[in-house]
Structure formats: structure tokens, C-alpha cells
Subunit: 199 residues, 2 copies
Amino acid sequence: MKRATYHHGDLRAALLEAGLTLARTGGPQAIVLREVTRAVGVAPNSAYGHFATLTALKSAVAERARVEMATAMDGGIEAADPVARLREVGRAYVRYALTEPGLFRTAMGGDPAGLREPAAFEDDDLPRPRRHLQRALAGLVEAGLLRPEDTPRAALACWATVHGLSIMLLDLLPQLTADEQDAAVDDALTVLIAGLRAA
Amino acid sequence: MKRATYHHGDLRAALLEAGLTLARTGGPQAIVLREVTRAVGVAPNSAYGHFATLTALKSAVAERARVEMATAMDGGIEAADPVARLREVGRAYVRYALTEPGLFRTAMGGDPAGLREPAAFEDDDLPRPRRHLQRALAGLVEAGLLRPEDTPRAALACWATVHGLSIMLLDLLPQLTADEQDAAVDDALTVLIAGLRAA
DNA sequence: TGATGATCTGGACAGTGTGAGTATGCCAGG
DNA sequence: CCTGGCATACTCACACTGTCCAGATCATCA
């Protein structure tokens, strides 16, 4: 399992890729430094040239997982009606959580630094799940169904619903069939949307 | 730090208590076998006489955390009106999550076996957060505001909302002031309740 | 009193993340 | 072409973890 060249060439990217693969099947706690370096074929401490600590690597992998989640959510969002679009965004969020639980937990999971993105959260134009929600809510505002000043509150309510729903279905109700899961998601989203329209 | 007697007497309970203390400040991943036994003043392997593995200890601590959460939620739930009562239950859930984040994460956290309680979940009469929700929803049914057959779906929607809300406030929006947090919780609960009444 | 069985201890092993110092080889300056 | 310089990767080491196995200790009941 030796490399041809002593220098790897693009170790940072390779470590990220390997971390993503590990996280896909085992969640964030499957990102183990020695395992990642082993997969790349490199000594454990070589990672320290590119990431100050394992936590830094995990954060970077979580970032990658977030963009993968966002791009995966693109499929299945095509409704023109703004209300239907918001529903589709919610469905896409939960669908990704159920399809890729490992990456979902890595992207949105309990890592203290995972969700807590400082300022650059809005600035760059990488696809992120949050962007989908923001666009959907902007559609509601444009259609006159949501007051602009209510957008942040609505965003929090939406995010809490779909995120909580994902956690529930993953951790609490794993025995549900796919149809039952879909029904549960639809029910919760119906409640959410009805509540939003009432306000 | 030597004990008087060779046998501890009630090591199992002492381990649970120490684990709970660790979890209170550090969350579930602060429950470290050697640290717990150290706190009790006992050799690491002594724990294996009472818990098959560290994960088993964690599960037991999570159980304890759940009853503590439920009893803590008792305070502040006193409204007679069923709708107001449901709101208070939700507020109590989030309030505990924000007050005791470590124990909340331990009780409801990502441990696969944490939320997933098999069958005896309903049977015994230990106080649990879920019971509060069930009683509140039963109040709604009794008042004719909720169809009995809609109870499970409503429970899922409620739980997803408050749980998601807790995670959001803990991980995503930790910079909010207490007042802003309260406002966010109230907003989300208003949306939820409005949505439930519309269905 | 003496044996038995539960309970606690000691040492050991395979892992882990991380720090300090060392070998390697690409790339610019002669 | 050769020769440094320097980023990159490696080796060795340490403290720490969960868990297994064999032995020491004690409470209890015949």
C-alpha cells in the first residue's frame, strides 16, 4: 500500500474525501484520524500539516457534507407555487436525512462547531440547505403570504420542524416503513404550513 | 481517597450518580468509564460488575436524565386551559434543554439507544417528558379540539417542533439572549398550535 | 467456623489523538 | 547541470481510553 511518490500531492483533498466516505456510513464519530490517514495511505501525523486537529478535519468534512446535502436537495424541488415549494424543501431536507443519515448527522449533528458557522455563513455562494429555505420563504414573501419582518421567525419554525422531524424519524421511530415516514412528514409539514398561514 | 470497606456497598447507584454529574456539565461524551470510577474512588473494572459496557452505563444515565427532565418540567405547567397547557409543556421542554444542555443531550441525544426505548416505554410509571406531551394532548382531545385518531400525528409534530427548537437554540443560535430565546420559542409554539387547530 | 459466590483490584492489550524531532524530495538560484 | 531551502511526510513517544483475564477480598449462610 505504498505510494509512488513520497509527497502525496493533494493530501488535504484526499483526507477530506476519505473523511466523507467514513462519515457516510458511520456518522461523524466514524471520522477517526488514524483511520482516515490509513485509508489515504499516509502516516497519522501527516494530517497535522493540513488540519490543526481532528476536530478541524471534522468541521471541514461537515462543511462538505452540507454542500452535498444542499445539492442533493435540488432534485425534487420544482413546484412553482410558493407554498408547495416550501413543502418540497422540507420534504427534501428530511429525505436527505433519511437517505444519508451518516452525512446528515455529520453536517447538522451535535458537533458544537458543526452548525455554528460564524459570519461567512451567508457570504460565499456554496450551496447550503439554509439557502433553500431562504429562497422558499422569499417566494412566500413575494406572493404576499408572509410579512418580510416575519421571515426570520418563520425560518426558525420551519428549520426546527424539519430538523426535529428528521431526528425523530432517525432515532425515535426507526421502525417506520417508508410510506409511514412520508405520511408523518406530510402531516407535520401540513401543520407547519397551516400554522404559518394563520400568522 | 481510599474507602473504609473493600466492598463499596451500592456501587451501581454511585456510578449512576457520578455519570449524571459528569453528563450535567459535559454532555454524554463526558461519561468516561475511567473518570466515573475515579470519581467514585474505585478501580475502572469494578464498573463491569454492574454494567456490561460503557454504553450500558450511558443508557442508564440517559434514563435517569430523562426522569430528571420530566420532574423538572413539572414546574411551570399549571394552566387549566388545554391549549395553554400544551404551550407550557413545550416551553418547559425547551427551557430544560437550555437550562441543562448536558443532561438534555444525554437524555435525548444522538445515542442510538437514547431515544429508542423498546416496549416498556409506556408501561412503567416513571416520569418522562413524553408523558407530559401525552397528557397535554389528551386534554385537547377531551376538550374536543383534537380528534383522538390524530393524537399520534399531533404528538410527532409537537415533539419535532420542541426538539428541533431546542437543538437550534443550543447549536445554531447560541448567541441569542434569554429574551430572544423566549420570543423564538413562543413564536414557534404559536405556529405549531395554530397549525394543529387548523387540522 | 468455613466454604461459596459476589465484588473489587491489578496488569495487560489494542486502540486513540497529539507533540517533538527527523527524513524526504520538489523547486528555485547558481 | 548542480545545490540549497523548505514544505511535506515520517518516526518515535506519551498519555489516555475501553475492555479482557486472572487473582485478591469480603459478606453471607451451611
